[in-house]
């Protein structure tokens, strides 16, 4: 890649970062909301275990395991699920993306930089939240061995790409319909439970688990957390690696195809 190209995208990243911090109160509110969601889940599980005998296991999890699980998944979801592309469909429908299409920049790279800046912003705030949650709930988190940690990082990056592809797919709705919020609402409602923030998915009845694993939802943070907590066997790691990469490939292919088709139909309405 040429130096000028790198400089161009670096500038794009810094501009997106600065744009993201224009409304600082909104950023603060958003992080506080995520923090409170984590506090709620951690408090509920702490209370459940405090009410039972200290050595008791609930749903097959000991207290320390469950608290570690909720702690880790809250962090992971803050990174993976945070996206700057929530308003993409509206930008498409209103014709606002015409500005980007006219510039000598790849629209995909532009969106990647926007999303990356948003993740960096969330990650920075997350550092303080991790410290606060750690001090309040004192989770016992054991670092996995180096190879597992390596796979965990790869899976997390894959989950970020997966979420990016899903955001692109939702964004593409704007090419054909002004009603873009309702499908997103349904998706995020499903995600709220199926990505495992309030409870781990393996506490669900088997039939529900089978349905969940037929969707990309568990691959957005649940399997990563299970891997970090070393709850997966080697064969499960192999299987989940293939399924995760499969979902990334399928959704990336779909997103690319639909955006190509959408841009063909795009008539910059309202511009």
């Amino acid at each position: 890649m040429k130096t000028t190209t790198i400089k161009k995208y670096w500038a794009l990243l810094t501009i997106s970062w600065e744009n993201g911090l224009v409304y600082r109160m909104s950023v603060f509110m958003w992080r506080l909301r995520r923090f409170l969601a984590a506090v709620m889940a951690l408090t509920i599980w702490s209370t459940i275990y405090t009410s039972a005998a200290p050595e008791a296991t609930t749903f097959g999890y000991a207290q320390s395991d469950m608290i570690s699980y909720i702690f880790l998944i809250s962090i992971l979801q803050s990174l993976v699920l945070a996206t700057a592309l929530n308003g993409l469909a509206q930008d498409v429908y209103s014709g606002a993306i015409s500005n980007q299409l006219l510039k000598p920049l790849s629209l995909t790279v532009y969106l990647i930089m926007q999303d990356l800046a948003d993740k960096l912003k969330n990650a920075s705030a997350l550092l303080f939240e991790i410290i606060a949650l750690f001090l309040i709930f004192k989770p016992v988190v054991h670092l996995p061995d180096l190879p597992t940690l390596g796979i965990f990082i790869v899976w997390t990056l894959a989950a970020i790409v997966l979420n990016f592809c899903i955001s692109l797919l939702f964004g593409s709705l704007g090419f054909w319909s002004p009603e873009t919020w309702a499908p997103r609402f349904l998706f995020y409602t499903l995600l709220q439970f199926t990505a495992g923030q309030l409870f781990p998915l393996d506490v669900l009845p088997t039939i529900f688990q089978k349905v969940m694993y037929a969707t990309p939802f568990p691959y957005l943070s649940f399997v990563q957390t299970q891997l970090f907590l070393q709850k997966l066997t080697l064969s499960e790691i192999q299987l989940h690696s293939m399924v995760l990469l499969g979902w990334v490939a399928v959704l990336a292919f779909l997103a690319q195809g639909i955006w190509k088709r959408g841009l063909r139909d795009y008539d910059a309405a309202g511009r």
Binding site: M25, M40, T47, S51, F185, F199, L204
Partner: protein
């Protein structure tokens, strides 16, 4: 009396318009309805699993925990039906359209609060309330006629508190032209009352009782229904709500003097 008739007529017209919009956007509303139903179903599934696994949680039985959630579900939905206009308020302030509300011969607070009734939530409230009542009838609880009567009073009290909180959001909207963060923060904080507020640590617990009083809105009514509180707590809740509403209205009147009518 004439004034009440006028406001009823205005609200009815706005509600009929919202109903027509709902039927125009049928596809979207089906998605919203399914989403809300799934959210309810998932939470009930979680509580059902807890009920089958754990006997007590923070001093409450698993059945009582279900009641807390169902009371939350009801109290969270009613203000959304009535006060959806609050979510759109910042745009009115930013564009200066709020000027038109100030010029009309109706109270601008009424217009700002009830500007867009959420018909979807109204439609969802019917089956969800019926389901809640059926679930409560199936649980091992001791509910007396007196506790139901006190609970009904506290339900009205909760709606007053929710109204006061929505007025405060409008105040923030006038002062900062931004309500999205605040209203969603309120929604997330109130979500914490899906479980009894007393399980949270201090100072969060006190905050949930007295600053953003979702504890008084949800936890206390549910506890009263379960016969866990005396009449004094009911009286305290009503007095607190009265004070909170008084403060909200004072702040609203003060914020109107700060409205800059920018962009108009």
């Amino acid at each position: 009396m004439h004034s009440y008739t006028k406001y009823w007529h205005v609200w009815k017209t706005i509600a009929i318009n919202a109903l027509q919009t709902t039927f125009v956007n049928r596809g979207s509303n089906v998605f919203f309805f399914i989403g809300k139903a799934l959210r309810l179903a998932f939470m009930l599934l979680f509580l059902w699993m807890l009920r089958n696994t754990v006997k007590t949680i923070g001093g409450y039985t698993s059945d009582e925990m279900v009641v807390f959630f169902l009371v939350y579900q009801f109290i969270d939905t009613v203000p959304q039906i009535l006060y959806r206009g609050v979510y759109l308020f910042s745009n009115l302030v930013r564009t200066g359209e709020f000027d038109f509300m100030l010029l009309r011969p109706i109270n601008p607070l009424f217009g700002a609060l009830t500007g867009k009734p959420d018909i979807n939530d109204a439609l969802f409230l019917i089956p969800s309330t019926a389901l809640s009542l059926w679930i409560i009838s199936q649980l091992s609880l001791t509910i007396t006629t007196a506790s139901v009567a006190l609970f009904s009073i506290l339900m009205l009290n909760s709606i007053i508190l929710a109204t006061a909180l929505h007025i405060l959001v409008l105040v923030v909207g006038i002062l900062t032209t931004e309500v999205d963060g605040v209203i969603w923060m309120y929604r997330d904080v109130s979500r914490m009352a899906q479980f009894p507020v007393s399980i949270y640590f201090e100072p969060l617990r006190s905050l949930l009782y007295f600053i953003v009083p979702v504890g008084i809105m949800v936890t206390i009514p549910a506890e009263v229904l379960l016969g866990k509180h005396s009449l004094y707590v009911v009286l305290f809740s009503c007095l607190f709500s009265g004070g909170f509403m008084f403060l909200s209205l004072k702040l609203w009147n003060w914020s109107l003097t700060k409205y800059q009518s920018a962009s108009s």
